[in-house]
Amino acid sequence: MPVATLTPAPARKFSRNPLIAFYQSSIGKKWIVGATGAILFAYVIGHLIGNLQVFLGPDRINGYAQFLHDLGPTLWVIRLSLLLAFIIHIVATIQLAQQNKAARPQAYAVQGYQRSTLTSRTMVVSGLIVLCFVIYHLLHFTFEATNPVFRTLEDSHGRHDVYRMLILGFRKPLISFFYVLSMFLLACHLSHGFASVVQTFGINNSKISGIVARSGESLASLIFIGYISIPIFILLRIVH
């Protein structure tokens, strides 16, 4: 019986430049996705700590916002670094996903998943929805394009009144609802993302993999609870 030979043309090509070749390799690209993901993960935690100051009163969070604005060029360095990490994370992941799709031209008739989770299988979907959320979120609270009235808010010290902006923004149930939904998807993404970064950076082994997975879930849950506490407390008029 004739045995089919594999096509000699390689499915992927590699540059002679070792740096580009590293990015082109499956593991190299995963390192890049992991590193940018870790930067964004750290930002999500930092942003949460900043936001939670809303519970300490208007003076505290308005002062914090003023402090960030006074950073000037440093703030823009941070913002542009985050934007770059965000773009690299998305581009590399889409490339990986396309290669993964191409690696199985025909799907199985029956799916018999054993170990994977719904969150791990839907990283691209959750990531892209979070991307949409981030764009809206920036237009809403950072550039204040959706609600230009936010720009006019000032507190008694003449600072931008972030506190009132949050109250006015989150008192709309529909906006708060989508905010909570987006945070849920973000938490799903971060849950698998945390365990994945540990694995990709090679810190994992069979003895700690269970703890790593639980840590990802716990961290993601804490982040979820932290973020949604703000719109919920505002909607319930506990913060007003």
Binding site: Q114, Q199, N205, S209
Partner: protein, 252 residues
């Protein structure tokens, strides 16, 4: 026992395939899955029909030749066993069972349920060996190996190269196979000389063959007949990054 089988039939790699219904009747509960298919094939041959083509060799779980995706799971339900070690008593009388080939771009279908897994051999050829002078066995205690490394290396070397990891992976990635082959040599003193070159060239070959990328979902670990741990993939990830840097610097 009686079963309704839905088996993938495909005359050759370039032909279109489809599922065909077969009735497996009066199958003994102690028959293995492959023996059940043998019984079905005897019926087909008696009726002058083309028997279902499937791979098998040792039929005792050590050679890695049998494959099949049974109800969506490579090697079927249960842990740490190959298809030849799957017994029909695991199913219920009257069950409908879907039987498919491994569906991986780098494993082209030859016929029906048989796929060409020589891609795995090509990965090994790219560096899964140690270049030393072959001769009479050296003094056993000449090179000291710690118990921990020896055990871990043995665990990786248990891989029988069946390819179920790539078949189970949602991305058709061969990372568990490649990680096992790289680790069992990289953990031993004899494997150090070519360690970084091995990691870089085997991973490159794996990528060139069109396997997907690992997304840390561990379906591979769940179906592996040799119970190779996904921890070896973490080991490969750090080995590869270090090796890529080392190879880039050495290339100057």
């Amino acid at each position: 026992m009686n079963f309704n089988l839905k088996i993938w039939r495909q005359a050759e790699g370039s032909a279109a395939g489809k599922f065909v219904d077969y009735q497996a009747k009066e199958i003994p509960a102690e028959a293995s899955f492959l023996e059940m298919l043998d019984i079905v094939n005897e019926g087909l041959i008696a009726r002058n029909e083309e028997p279902v083509a499937f791979d098998s060799d040792c039929r005792e779980g050590i050679c890695g030749t049998c494959s099949l995706v049974i109800n969506g799971v490579p090697h079927g339900p249960g842990k740490a066993k190959t298809t030849c070690q799957l017994y029909m008593r695991r199913f219920r009388d009257g069950d409908t069972i879907w039987v498919e080939p491994f569906r991986v771009l780098a494993f082209p279908i030859i016929k029906d349920l048989i796929v060409n897994r020589s891609a795995l051999d090509q990965i090994v050829e790219a560096g899964g060996y140690i270049s030393v002078r072959a001769g009479s066995a050296p003094e056993a205690n000449g090179i000291a190996v710690s118990k921990r490394d020896a055990d871990l290396s043995m665990e990786a070397a248990a891989c029988i190269g069946c390819g179920a990891c790539a078949a189970a992976c949602p991305n058709s990635s061969a990372m568990l196979f490649t990680a096992a082959k790289i680790s069992h040599l990289g953990l031993l003193p004899q494997g150090q000389v070519e360690r970084s070159r091995r990691a870089v060239s085997m991973v490159r070959k794996m990528d060139e063959l069109g396997f997907g990328n690992c997304s840390n979902q561990y379906e591979c670990e769940a179906v592996c007949p040799a119970e190779i741990s996904a921890g070896f993939i973490a080991r490969l990830n750090r080995d590869y990054a270090g090796s890529a840097v080392k190879e880039a610097v050495l290339a100057e």
